[in-house]
């Protein structure tokens, strides 16, 4: 009797493990590239790339699939589940993933943009004015906004986690609404276009901006792919080139760019043009700032092991 039960249990466990293992990618008849797209002016080249079909033209035998994912954690999880090939995110979240054994690398920069900490309390002009009960909204711990804030905290108070107990996780639009509503949130660390929208309001003011926190310039969004994807030389090269083309198009054809982007961003075309071209966002495939981020994160136990820039920059 005991034997029978034992066998039954073993069979059940074996079946469960088989079910888990059976997420093996079935050999697909057609090759595929899965790209995560995101909303935000810093990602504008992606929208241009999609609209002008650079990748589709370069890879005729491939199916190009664009997916929408909620946040950077979701991107990492999709990569781990072999469901995503290409994604765009800030350098710190990328580093955290790499630090935890994810096999991916940076293949391009996308944009460098102003980021900033906005306050709805006129009494708060500098970091020192922020009290213990003032809550700071930002996308999530480990995001570039959080890291920049921590860098500034280290410079000002000598303590990187100074504000860590005052953070509230909110997506950019929610953070903006909360800041405007003037309720529990006093500060919002955000990026374009929300940053621009917020700074237009009289009662909101900038406390500190990204470059001040970082101590210089840095690339805001980088593009990454999995190691596996890189093995496909044809697709990889096409991807690199497609991004370059998109960036070039944006820099050389402002009016058409605004036209295309107005399909995605619900602003007046003049406002949109101003945001994209006149507010200091730079669209470039260069990548800068990785070393400084690595050093900071290592010193503050956000990364377990140091990372060589050459290992991650392809």
């Amino acid at each position: 009797m005991k034997m029978k039960k034992l066998v039954a249990v073993m069979v059940m466990v074996a079946l469960m493990l088989m079910a888990v293992g059976c997420t093996e990618k079935v050999a697909e008849p057609q090759k595929k590239v899965v790209i995560a797209e995101q909303f935000g002016l810093a990602y504008a080249p992606l929208q241009i790339m999609k609209e002008n079909g650079y990748l589709d033209k370069a890879l005729p035998g491939y199916e190009i699939e664009w997916v929408k994912l909620g946040n950077t954690a979701a991107i990492r999880e999709a990569i781990l589940a072999d469901a995503l090939d290409v994604g765009f995110l800030g350098i710190p979240p990328f580093l955290i993933g790499y630090d935890n054994g994810m096999e991916w690398g940076i293949f391009t920069g996308l944009s460098s943009a102003p980021l900033g900490l906005v306050s709805n309390n006129p009494a708060i002009q500098t970091l020192e004015d922020i009290g213990r009960t003032d809550r700071i909204a930002l996308p999530q711990p480990g995001s570039i906004q959080h890291i920049l804030l921590s860098m500034a905290a280290e410079k000002t108070f000598g303590q990187a986690d100074y504000f860590d107990k005052q953070l509230v996780t909110m997506k950019h639009p929610d953070g903006m609404n909360a800041l405007l509503a003037g309720g529990d949130i006093s500060l919002h660390y955000t990026s374009p276009p929300f940053l621009f929208e917020e700074l237009k309001e009289e009662e909101l003011s900038l406390v500190v901006d990204g470059n001040q926190c970082f101590g210089g310039d840095f690339t805001f969004i980088v593009g990454m792919t999995t190691k596996d994807f890189k093995e496909d030389q044809v697709a990889y090269d096409a991807l690199v080139k497609a991004v370059e083309e998109a960036v070039q198009f944006m820099n050389e054809n402002p009016d058409e760019t605004v036209e295309l982007l107005s399909n995605y961003y619900d602003y007046d075309k003049d406002v949109l043009k101003n945001y994209v071209y006149e507010q200091n966002i730079r669209y470039t495939t260069d990548v800068s700032g990785v070393e400084t981020f690595v050093e900071f994160m290592i010193n503050n136990d956000l990364l377990k092991e140091s990372i060589e820039v050459d290992d991650v920059l392809w």
Binding site: V9, V13, L80, N100, P141, D184
Partner: protein, 253 residues
């Protein structure tokens, strides 16, 4: 009974072995399937450094607060409903609307009213616990009424005596049953609310713990958190509530 226990142990053993095999096979990245050692190690570390115990205690206290509120408000609602049939109907109506709403679904609305923080989460927890409790207690009170009303009338029991000795004392098993159900609902609502909304406070619970592990890609930490949740749940539901239930059944039969 003994064979049953052996079955469970064997099952767990095989599960753990299977897990470790999965890890060794390298089929999945360690960020998805960490080794048993790293999970065990992280779990021990997190218990010793106080992170997990803090989160556990905070979570349990939060649900407990919610439970007290739920019992109190249920009592009031049942009292209101017992006054007239019209009021009873109203209470039933409110319950039927509110009961199907998951706590997380109303959280955005709650944040608008209560802002961010403990109050909002407590409200969501109470909401998820209150309605099943009202339903259980109402049913219990109805049952008691049907059974003991004639005794109350025949012996001219004062309203006070009837309410205290028949309804209050008599509903205790119903309250315990209701509390058991409410507890699991509140537990899940609390953890989910913290995870989905990442609400932060000075102290926070297991949901936030899981959220942090996720954003920092700490898979071993994530599993440690899950283990803590399971252990808590099992302990409270099986050990505490079942014992309470058994004790009550003995004296209230």
């Amino acid at each position: 009974m003994v064979t049953l226990k052996w079955n469970r142990l064997i099952f767990i053993g095989l599960l753990l072995a299977g897990w470790q095999l999965l890890f060794i096979s390298g089929r999945y990245s360690p960020a998805l399937v960490p080794s048993l050692q790293s999970i065990g190690g992280t779990f021990t570390d997190e218990c010793l450094n106080g992170q997990l115990p803090k989160a556990v205690v905070y979570s349990i206290v939060a649900i407990f607060k919610g439970l007290l509120w739920s019992v109190a408000v249920s009592g009031i609602l049942v009292l209101i409903g017992s006054a007239t049939e019209w009021l009873d109907d109203l209470v039933e109506f409110v319950v039927s609307i509110a009961h199907p709403l998951p706590g997380i679904a109303i959280l955005p609305l709650v944040i608008l009213w209560f802002g961010i923080g403990e109050k909002a989460v407590l409200f969501v927890v109470i909401h998820s616990m209150l309605w099943p409790m009202v339903v259980t207690i109402k049913a219990e009170v109805k049952r008691l009424k049907n059974r003991y009303q004639r005794v109350s009338k025949a012996f001219n029991l004062s309203r006070f005596k009837t309410v205290v000795h028949i309804y209050l004392v008599g509903t205790v098993p119903g309250i315990i049953t209701g509390a058991k159900i409410a507890w699991s609902r509140g537990w899940r609502a609390f953890i989910s609310a913290e995870m989905v909304f990442g609400i932060v406070g000075q102290k926070s619970g297991l949901g936030w713990y899981l959220f942090e592990q996720r954003v920092y890609m700490n898979a071993a930490g994530l599993f440690s958190g899950l283990i803590a949740i399971i252990l808590c749940g099992v302990f409270i539901e099986q050990v505490i509530f079942n014992r309470l239930d058994a004790w009550v059944q003995l004296r209230w039969r």
